[in-house]
């Protein structure tokens, strides 16, 4: 009883403090100097219609490389955790598949999910969204297939190849800008093009497509690891 009263009192204090703290901010106006700079110079300097993409890939491109590396480390960590000796002998058990409608419906919906995810990361520099969101949507499409067919699995070798090529594209473009064109990593060396067209903003769409493939393959790998942990039998534990 005393514990619950203490909880309630502390919760009350925290909520009051938070409300007072956030009430002090004038919301929606008085942007910071950095934000004003980005909003004013984004189109002239990067050519991207979506300011968020301009910030994450152009002004803060190196941070995004760090973010991608963190995701890679997380996916590798999951893979290492679930790796068991004799991985090749691990077999997916003959599962009881879900009913007919789920199986056929997932096969019909899957290409549309792929299309939607690709749309989101290809148009990352024009509309809201980008590589991370599109990749996560594609991975959720793979998740749907896993739920409908628990006994099947994606080809992990191909996933690794796609992931490696995408990461190489990102770093290679950055190094190309560093050594040949400008004097900074991820220098935007391609022509800016016309605003609001698909071929605009220089290297930003290429990088977002690479990030989309990378994120999708990493999340699909994580889903595959978790799913195999639930349905696989065999291998030395």
């Amino acid at each position: 009883m005393i514990r619950k009263i203490t909880y309630a009192i502390f919760l009350g204090i925290i909520i009051t403090a938070l409300v007072l703290f956030f009430a002090a901010f004038p919301f929606g106006k008085n942007k910071m100097a950095v934000g004003n700079y980005y909003l004013k110079n984004d189109i002239k300097q990067t050519g991207a219609a979506n300011v968020v993409t301009a910030v994450t890939l152009d002004y803060r491109g190196f941070d995004t490389l760090g973010e991608v590396s963190v995701l890679f480390a997380a996916a590798a960590g999951v893979a290492i955790l679930f790796y068991v000796l004799g991985e090749d002998k691990k077999k997916r058990e003959k599962q009881v598949y879900p009913n007919f409608i789920v199986r056929v419906g997932s096969r019909i919906i899957f290409p549309f999910i792929l299309l939607f995810g690709s749309y989101i990361f290809i148009h990352g520099h024009l509309t809201p969204g980008g590589g991370f969101q599109g990749g996560a949507i594609i991975a959720s499409g793979f998740l749907l297939l896993y739920l409908a067919y628990p006994g099947e699995s994606v080809n992990r070798k191909r996933l690794s190849v796609v992931e490696g090529l995408a990461g190489l594209t990102f770093v290679g473009l950055g190094l190309w800008g560093l050594f040949t064109q400008g004097n900074s990593f991820l220098f935007n060396f391609l022509p800016k093009g016309q605003l609001n067209m698909i071929f605009s903003a220089g290297i930003l769409p290429i990088i977002y497509i690479a990030i989309g493939f990378k994120v999708a393959s990493e999340f699909a790998g994580i889903v595959d690891d978790m799913m195999c942990e639930a349905v696989c039998r065999g291998g030395e534990k």
Binding site: P128, I137, L143, V223, A230
Partner: protein
Amino acid sequence: MILYASWILIILMIILAVLSVQFKDLIAAVVAMGAVSLIISLLFLFLQAPDVAMAEASIGAALTMAIYIIVVRKTERREK
């Protein structure tokens, strides 16, 4: 209008967050957690941050929930 809607959503979100801790049935707890993520993504949309809303909806509400459900299926469904 959107202000009142977001108030209702915030209250619903707090209730769902408390419920996801209190539920003894772990699948129900995971579903409540996914609903919290979905409501957060709606609130991001109201705050005109569609980029973040998309990431939250696809990762928080879809992938994380699926991974938790797989874990619950592998272990035990009811909390002791």
